[in-house]
């Protein structure tokens, strides 16, 4: 898994590629929480390069989403591949995040 961080005005964009599985979930969660602390705007997670998401990956996103709630900021997901979109739909996670 690789994560590239970009600033887009006040927002922070995390470009993720590879697998969001149990092994990678913790480092991914760490990067997200770090971005939540450092950024004042929205966090946008670009999942174009992600072809696999497990329950641990979903949980990492949820932890980050919960960390942003007190600050009234948003975690947005972007460019989900069809099979990843299906995981989000089936799990109900697509109802929790803004997906573009």
């Amino acid at each position: 898994m690789q994560i590239e961080t970009e600033e887009n005005g006040a927002d922070t964009v995390l470009k993720v590629s590879g697998r969001l599985d149990t092994l990678n979930a913790k480092p991914f969660e760490g990067k997200l929480l770090e971005a939540v602390k450092q950024s004042n705007g929205c966090i946008i997670v670009d999942l174009t390069g992600v072809d696999y998401v497990s329950s641990s990956g979903l949980r990492a996103l949820l932890v980050a989403g919960k960390a942003m709630t007190p600050h009234k900021r948003k975690l947005r997901l972007k460019s989900l591949q069809p099979q990843i979109q299906e995981v989000f739909d089936i799990s109900g996670f697509s109802a929790l995040f803004e997906i573009a």
Partner: protein, 545 residues
């Protein structure tokens, strides 16, 4: 020919009577026996006494042993609590042997008349009466059977028959005959009652009959082990304890008999003396001595008994997983503490739910057998918690405590249903190798939901966690219907696989529904210590995240 027919008819009536009496007694007293057994954990003596009463009521030490084994499996008893009960149950079964040794012919005739009139007056229409009439009928048939057996050899030359039987039935053969009969009838008391009847006909000597009784005693221990079936670990330890009771009894009574012979006593005369001159009563006394001496030794040396049982049947992983951590019988007396313990036990069960699902993300670490053991363990704890709540409801609870208890009961029922659904879902998933993308998505989605549920359960969890859970478990029947339609359209490619995929979607939908119900049930009620926050009434909207 008539003698043989009468003998077989007697045996038939005896077996039918025993069966009728046993099954009706267990129906009539089953709940009370279970309640009685649960009071047995106070002390070893209390356990022994409760076991004696339970054995006398059920007339089957085998049945009491298996009830205890299931209570151990369900985490209600520890093996140390249950060993005295098993030992006492054997003593209790002596009651019927004593009754059989007394001539109750006239009383039995009246009993048959009474039961017959009861049936004629349709008293059996009332469930409680029906069971007790069944018990009375069983007892009457048992005694009629004994009477048939006793009167069968009346046409024979008794002295000659006794001589022939005495020649054929050596002590060793008598011992094995008793053992085989006990294994077949799964009872020590049935062959002993038969021995009582045959001794009364005078075709069998008291000295020979004793070896049949000793064999029957040991054989019933083997029967318990055989009927233990797939019981393992600590539950099986009780069956081994039952054998220890039997072996100890045989050794102690055998040693006493040997000592008497070595001291120059005539065993036959000594036994007659023990029975007050009545050989049938002497057999009952010996049977009682076997149970009491064996049972007492096992209870007095409970540490040794426990160690021997554990050596032959070490505790399994399931034993560890099926033991409640918080609830215990004594806690029922203090309802507020008890409810706190139930909440902790339920939370523990919820945190274990993800373990019931296959881990498709780390398939190398996934072990279906470990999952199966985890499911059985979790089910046993849920059952024990449910029983604990039923006992709690029996206490004089305040209105508020009763309300919380009923809510806790709903939570436990939902957890139990969820455990069952996840187990079934896991079984369906295991049928795929490798799992197709849909199965992966369903399984990992369910795991993600369960992880959110485990976050929402602790007492200090934020109500927002339950809100997230509500949002995640919103209705998705449209999506699942679309998936099912697509699967149905592809049915021509593989029937079994499609059926399993359909089943997986149904179980997934049910699991989601149960998680939603559980999420609602976990919210504090308005009249509990934690009043509901305004925040907890709203669902988390996507905009909040």
């Amino acid at each position: 020919m008539l003698i043989l027919a009468q003998l077989f008819a007697g045996l038939g009536l005896l077996f039918v009577g025993l069966k009728l009496m046993g099954s009706h007694l267990q129906h009539a007293m089953g709940r009370r026996v279970r309640r009685l057994l649960r009071a047995a954990t106070v002390s070893r003596a209390a356990g022994f006494l409760c076991g004696t009463v339970a054995g006398a009521i059920t007339q089957s030490s085998n049945a009491v042993t298996l009830i205890c084994a299931n209570l151990v499996r369900g985490g209600v008893f520890s093996p140390r609590d249950a060993i005295p009960v098993v030992a006492g149950a054997n003593v209790g079964t002596s009651a019927l042997v004593f009754i059989a040794s007394v001539n109750m012919k006239v009383a039995v005739l009246y009993l048959v008349a009474l039961v017959g009139m009861g049936f004629h007056l349709r008293m059996h229409a009332r469930p409680a009466w029906r069971e007790w009439m069944g018990v009375a009928l069983g007892l009457a048939l048992l005694f009629l059977g004994l009477d048939f057996i006793k009167s069968a050899p009346a046409g024979l030359n008794l002295a000659e028959t006794a001589r022939v039987i005495g020649d054929v039935l050596t002590p060793t053969r008598g011992f094995f005959l008793g053992m085989v009969l006990a294994v077949i009838t799964q009872s020590a008391s049935t062959p002993t009652i038969l021995a009582v009847a045959v001794v009364q006909t005078q075709v069998l000597g008291l000295g020979d009959a004793i070896f049949v009784v000793l064999g029957a005693n040991l054989g019933s221990g083997l029967a318990t082990l055989l009927s233990a079936g797939d019981l393992k670990g600590s539950a099986r330890q009780l069956c081994i304890s039952a054998i220890l009771v039997k072996v100890s009894g045989c050794v102690m009574v055998g040693a006493a008999a040997l000592a008497a012979i070595l001291l120059g006593h005539n065993l036959d005369e000594l036994l007659r003396y023990l029975g007050g001159g009545d050989p049938a009563f002497a057999i009952s006394v010996v049977f009682f001595a076997l149970q009491l001496s064996g049972g007492a030794l096992v209870v007095i040396m409970i540490g040794v008994s426990e160690a021997i049982s554990a050596r032959f049947s070490p505790p399994t992983r399931e034993d560890h997983l099926s033991r409640p951590r918080f609830i215990h019988d004594q806690a029922v007396k203090d309802p507020s503490t008890a409810l706190d313990l139930v909440a902790r036990e339920t939370a523990r069960l919820v945190t274990r739910l993800p373990r019931l699902l296959p881990d498709l993300d780390q398939r190398a670490a996934d072990d279906p057998k470990a999952r199966d053991a985890a499911w059985r363990g979790a089910d046993a704890i849920a059952a024990a918690t449910d029983r604990f709540l039923v006992d709690l409801i029996d206490q004089h609870l305040t209105r508020a405590d009763l309300h919380i208890t009923l809510r806790a009961q709903t939570q436990v029922e939902l957890v139990r249903a969820l455990q069952e659904t996840l187990h079934e879902f896991g079984t369906v998933v295991d049928a795929f190798n490798p799992p197709p993308p849909l199965i992966f998505n369903l399984s990992e989605s369910l795991r993600a939901l369960l992880l959110v549920l485990t976050d929402a359960v602790p007492a200090d969890a934020s109500p927002a966690d339950l809100d997230v859970l509500d949002a995640l478990t919103a209705d998705r029947s449209g999506l699942l219907d679309r998936i099912r339609r697509e699967l149905a359209a592809s049915c021509a490619t593989g029937g079994d696989e499609v059926r399993n995929l359909m089943r997986a979607t149904s179980l997934f939908e049910r699991a989601i529904w149960l998680v939603r119900r559980l999420s609602l049930a976990l919210r504090p009620g308005p009249n509990e210590d934690n009043p509901p926050s305004a925040e907890s009434d709203r669902l988390l909207s996507p905009a909040d995240m």
